[in-house]
Symmetry: C2
Subunit: 478 residues, 2 copies
Amino acid sequence: MAEQKKMVEAITPMEEDFAKWYTDIVKKAELMDYTSVRGCMVIEPYGWAIWENIQHILDTTFKELGHENVSMPMFIPESLLNKEKDHVQGFAPEVAWVTMGGNEKLQERMCVRPTSETLFCDHYAKVIQSWRDLPKLYNQWCSVVRWEKTTRPFLRSVEFHWQEGHTMHETPEEAKAETEQMLKVYADFCENDLAMPVIKGRKTDKEKFAGAEATYTIEAMMHDGKALQSGTSHYFGDGFAKAFDVTFQGRDNSSCHPFQTSWGMSTRIIGGIIMTHGDNNGLVLPPAIAPIQVIILPIAQHKPGVLDKAHELRERLKKNFRVKIDESEQSPGWKFAQYEMKGVPLRLEIGPKDMEKNQCVLVRRNDREKTFVDLDNLEAAITEQLEAVRQGIYDKALARRESMTYSATSMDELKDIADSKPGFIKAMWCGDEACEEKLKEVAGVSSRCMPFEQEHISDTCVCCGKPAKSMVYWGKAY
Amino acid sequence: MAEQKKMVEAITPMEEDFAKWYTDIVKKAELMDYTSVRGCMVIEPYGWAIWENIQHILDTTFKELGHENVSMPMFIPESLLNKEKDHVQGFAPEVAWVTMGGNEKLQERMCVRPTSETLFCDHYAKVIQSWRDLPKLYNQWCSVVRWEKTTRPFLRSVEFHWQEGHTMHETPEEAKAETEQMLKVYADFCENDLAMPVIKGRKTDKEKFAGAEATYTIEAMMHDGKALQSGTSHYFGDGFAKAFDVTFQGRDNSSCHPFQTSWGMSTRIIGGIIMTHGDNNGLVLPPAIAPIQVIILPIAQHKPGVLDKAHELRERLKKNFRVKIDESEQSPGWKFAQYEMKGVPLRLEIGPKDMEKNQCVLVRRNDREKTFVDLDNLEAAITEQLEAVRQGIYDKALARRESMTYSATSMDELKDIADSKPGFIKAMWCGDEACEEKLKEVAGVSSRCMPFEQEHISDTCVCCGKPAKSMVYWGKAY
């Protein structure tokens, strides 16, 4: 099929140039477009529909767990940003500053929010009075701005979309439980809905969020063996609460500071979906978030009754699935390639011969497996095949991660693996930041996380040989 | 009931001070909070839930009509803003300028979008090639910034949330039809879902959007007789397309410019809901967008079985309605006042005596009308009572508007009405901007719109006495 070949050739194979493969996909699947605004992108309808599906699933879960959505201002006055020392040091170098309003110079400049801990604290200081007001479980969906030097679609951009949850609790235990709960929400969402296996763990102090006591993370492995930090959840203790003078009257009438968390997942995850599941024919979308779950392609559509039948199926299926029909004059080969490019999980072919047999053909995007399905049984078959896509891409991603995860017990071994094999390296660590820096310097890897599921690789730190405190996943990251 | 009295006293009566009544409600119903960010507010959970309900209804309609959501950057480089002359003159004086990124001064400053015509055109120039690519029907939900000097919660703030639709069409007729269609969507939404009667019409050239050929508007009357522009829809012709070099190959292979529209509705509408339906006991919410449609209040809740019954009803009703139960230790009087303040359309009371009779009591927020309802018939009764609330508040608002709308045939008469009676004034106009300015100067009123439903008030312009071209609604506006 010439047309199919031609379209497929338009994507650079990932083995040849992974970065080019990635940008080919985001452009050709029409997820985004570049703009004349430095480091900012247009998210096009197909890309935004993916994000809307992600939002819907996460937002429903957040609300089921008692969270409420709010909207904070997009600006932070400089004096407010300055209130928590570690936080401002972390973020001030990478914010965009508004200095003029209309024709007037502002008395105090404001940054566009890079994250909103400061704004939430400013508000919480006003609305929290008593232990009865706790917990406060707020979330917002918005975009934030970080003045990144090098940008890549979805993975790193000056403006990006996310949700940021900010909660306040009466006790450290409650706040820590919230931090862990939300990390689990992200991990379950990635594994169940996005079919992305993730490693749950804690960040080292070097890698944690500016101002946090502890940062938890889920780390996913991309096709090229690099890690993508896919969601984080932070425990702040009462550090911000003290800096912002957030107090409440405790059960014993004493004045207390509440304990705080924040947690976020961003449009970056769309980059993660592409680099976990995509192949040389294009995008492969997990069914839960695919804007089109089933594309109906009429075969020999000029033959009598074919288009009518295709429309009949669309009307029937749209009650349960996100379904679209392509009855354009393009050839079947062009259409096959087009919807493979767009990552649609299932293709439904219906032609005159199928109609005679009261059947249709379902073809899975991930492995092109064909199934002939009795039309009387179509809904159940589609549900089953969508689940087969989900399971298939999950298993493949997990097998890849396992085959690309290594252990090292010495610096030489670690460096050798890091130099020759892309992937994750499990190695022991003494807990000393100097060793972490040395691994970066010598082997070019950073700590991804101290996984919750610890393993014993050796007794001593892979770098300094002192007694080890924890097993760490090391790797290169986006 | 002392507690009820006490809470109600906390709202300034609207007859005493309408502005104070308004801000009392937005604060006491917990819709928003002020911030330390100039002119920006926190939209609190109850206020944001109203906006989410508005978003859901409008977004569903937009999509049914074939529109697709996208996301454009929040920044506009100065050179891009400058491309359409009328547009930049209209907006440049009221934008916030980003001049620094991190520690570096930007080579070209960027404004935070006050509206996104320029960004959409920049993108459309790239993605529109052929007539086959038209129409493009894009929309985005976002916040925008206008450097307003005087701000009021929801009605006028530096940052506000809205949706902005931006569409491109092959012909002027198609674009005009879209403009009219979207104005009708807004009008139907206001009348059916928000129970707000509106007047549909066209803005005069003086009042139209910067850069538009024609602006259409829906105007609602508030309690105090002032107008609120509640949604607008603009026809641009091909002016922006020419300025931004958006071209397509037409059906005859010639190079053409497409014809453009934009349309928006914002969080301002929440201010409109308050000032249309609210009363001296607080907010009154239209059922379609009320975060809580039915508040269940157990009466004598310490009596055996009452709380269980209340919970049973909640579980049963939540399948069809947004329902909440308040089983706190506050007195019934306090709770009555609290949920009246919050504008919950229906209160459901259930106590031991009701249980004996297998009934409950439904009380409407708007007129406190009580209905005793057989529990076997509860869902139908609630649906009926919610509709009665909607119809009741719509009728009341319409009757008020009618009683506060006057006609004038001379300048003296118009000035007399404008000075003594709040409301709308219908009067004829010659179409000359000088007369429009004189009405403002002499009577303090501006043209609200030239309504689609024209009436004949007199033959000549109320101001200059020349032959009249159209009947105009005049009034004071938010």
